[in-house]
């Protein structure tokens, strides 16, 4: 934790700016450069910055859940998004389904799952090194 007033004061805004940017990158990914993988990394950067400024315990409070739990939710979401094809249409797992005429389909929860796993993975690795007392 770097003890700096400027960092501490700006941490929250940088965090939410990063999260907002990461969600934007995540959602535009299907048509422009971006996607869940990059989005997850950008989001992780925001949280890492926050942890540097205010210490990992504060960051964990913002996260609510353990990074691993977010990763687990993401994995379930990604795997679950492959099920409709299998169960409803007897197609191979992870054949994405799209709503007629709308850019909404099972690829979106899949990409959100990727986002969450990457975020959880990065934070689970980095946070323990940023000066929290190991649990």
């Amino acid at each position: 934790m770097l003890d700096s007033l400027i960092l501490r004061a700006s941490a929250r805004y940088v965090l939410w700016a990063c999260v907002a940017l990461s969600v934007f990158v995540l959602l535009r990914g299907h048509n422009e450069p971006g996607g869940g993988f990059i989005g997850g990394l950008i989001g992780a950067l925001g949280f890492v910055f926050h942890a540097l400024a205010r210490g990992p315990p504060a960051t964990r409070r913002v996260l609510r859940l353990d990074p691993l739990a977010w990763g687990g939710i993401g994995l379930l979401l990604a795997a679950g998004s492959g099920l409709p094809a299998l169960l409803l249409h007897a197609e191979p797992l992870l054949t994405h389904q799209w709503m007629e005429g709308l850019p909404i389909g099972t690829a979106i929860p899949f990409d959100i799952g990727v986002y969450l796993v990457v975020l959880g993975f990065a934070l689970a690795f980095v946070l323990p090194f940023l000066g929290e007392d190991a649990a």
Binding site: L52, W98, G105, G120, A124, G131, A134
Partner: protein, 758 residues
Amino acid sequence: MLALPAIPLLALACVPLVGWGLRRAPVMAPWLAALPAALFLLVLTTPDGAMFSLHWIPTLGVELAFRLDGLSRLFALLIAGIGAGVFLYAAAYLEGHPLLHRFLAVLTLFMAAMLGAVLADDLLLLFAFWELTSLASFMLIGFDAHRAEARRAAQQGLMVTVAGGLAMLAGLLLLGDAAGTFRISAILAQGSTLAAHPAAPWIVVLIAIGCFAKSAQWPLHFWLPNAMAAPSPVSAYLHSATMVKLGVYLLARLNPAFEALALWQGLLIGVGTATMLAGAVLALRERDLKRKLAWSTVVALGTLVALIGIEDPLAATAAVVFLLVHALYKASLFLIAGIVDKKAGTRDAMQLRGLGRRMPITAAAALLAGLSMAGAPGFIGAFAKDLLFTVQLGVPRLLPAVALLVNAAMVVVAGVVAARPFMGKPMETGGVAKDPAVALLVAPIVLATLGLVFGMAPHLISAAIIEPAAGAILGRPTGIALGEKQGGTVVMTMSFAALGLGLLMFLGWRRLQPTLAGQTWLDTYGPDAGYGRAMRAVSAVAVALTRRVQGGSLRGYLAANLALVFAGAALVLVARGGLALPLPGPWAGPAQLALAAVILAGALAACRLRALFGQVMAAALVGFGVGILFLTLGAADLAFTQFTVEILAIVLLVAILARLPFHAPDARRAPERRRDALLAAGVGAAGTAILLAVLSVPFDPFITEWMGKAAVPEAKGRNVVNVIIVDFRALDTLGEIAVLLIAALAATVLLRRTGKPG
């Protein structure tokens, strides 16, 4: 025909409900017995020959196929019927135990797996359920996990049965390959043609190993008595009445296909007889009630295996009758041993005396079960014994002598377990013993009484249960009705001789037992001790190997990994003649040349700089340079990712550098530095050679073009890279993120141990 698959699958679906529900309301535990009772009725009402199949893994030919015939009906009835009694008993036996819900959930899982295994009509489905029973058995033997003895027994049971299961899997795959199908009914329909297949000996031996391990055949019998560390309901249910009979079941199931093979007959009769003898001697030697019963179970299992090996209608009938008889009396005796243990505080047969007056109902149930075990006239046990003798007399050589001795030993066990503890003067410590609550008594009384009922009225089960099951073992109807007098005066004489010899040995057992127990060489050179030595040897090898391979130097690991991967790759490249230079293409633009210079400078600086912090920054220069290079080549997504990864990596490295005592710049000595430089240069050269070789292969644009064209119509996305990640190759991505999460899990565990601030 939905009732048939519902039998195992319904039970399977109940497992989480049981665990969750009973945790909240443990008082509901006795009502769980309604589940096996309902399944019992379902099995009873499902017609013979019912079939059900659903494609499960069509590419591998695995089907969710179930079938009910005489043999599987007998087993399913035993599993559900005895299950009902055992569930009721277990709820009372472990009343107030904080983990009762877990115990009953695993017991439900076990029952579901057993039903699945005996109803499965697909070899691989059967195997899956088979292994599930091993896992459930592991958890149940180790239920008292705080006892080292229970943990060892659980591990031993699992190791033996699963190792056998592995051999069996190979056998089943060979069998499916030889028969051209995994459907059991289709395999059996081929008759004895399979016996002539060149792979038949392998199939027989491999499958037999699995069955022998599961059914505790000599020399793999030693895990069963140790499994008595489990609570008594488990011993009664898994380790006498049902699970250990699964090996017998599979042998019986496949018997029609292989009965013509001399190897099959010899293996089954030989191993079965050896098991009978070993079990009988060890049963006489044992003092602990439950272990004594376990050894006699080993004897019974050996008998069953030998009977299946004898190809004769009478032998098949004898096997079925004995199977039923044994399940009834043995489950009952185990439950009674549990009651005695609980009430009198010991299971030592030498100490237990005179409980009869204080526990009259328990004593009566024990007497009924014991008489059936000893084969007293009027009990169904008598039929089993007559059939056994008739069959065994038909096989000359030593089988009749073995049969006489073994049956006498069974009489002794019946006496010592079912009669002796209740006879004579009351023991001193047994002062508080009294009959237990009704819930504990119902199951042993009903099971023991059934032995008498079926003995008096054999027509109840003869045509409905016994004949169809025996016919399935034989592969054709037996035409034998239970209750017809079998054998002649020779069998009668032998039967009485066994009873007499048994009674004599029982009266002298108090003196006989110490002599037998004194034979310590049976323990020293027995397979149990051998198992212990083998396990210790495995540990010793693992420790020695770990000490050599994992010295603890991170630098050493890194060097070994790099050297192995790149030297290996380069070796293959050279050996296969893959070294090649790509055709000269258009020259790179000035921007790219400048970037290449930056990257090169960063790499050199990383090598030359002394301070770690400076090295990190220099390495970052390489990373960002490569990222910008990607950008100039039009790979926006790649550049994007490269930048974010690079930033995260720098933050992480700087954070570590700030926290860990890495202040000493570089402790390597000159020779080490030279060696590292050599390694780095080698890795770089190998990597360059590989890249050049890759680029020299003409680029086939087919896939690129297809993906570019298909991205919008097929996947509704214009960003081809992302479409590939989330759609075209989504399954790969799923695997990758799963790996990421596993790595994060592992890292979290490791960092929790050693990541504390230094």
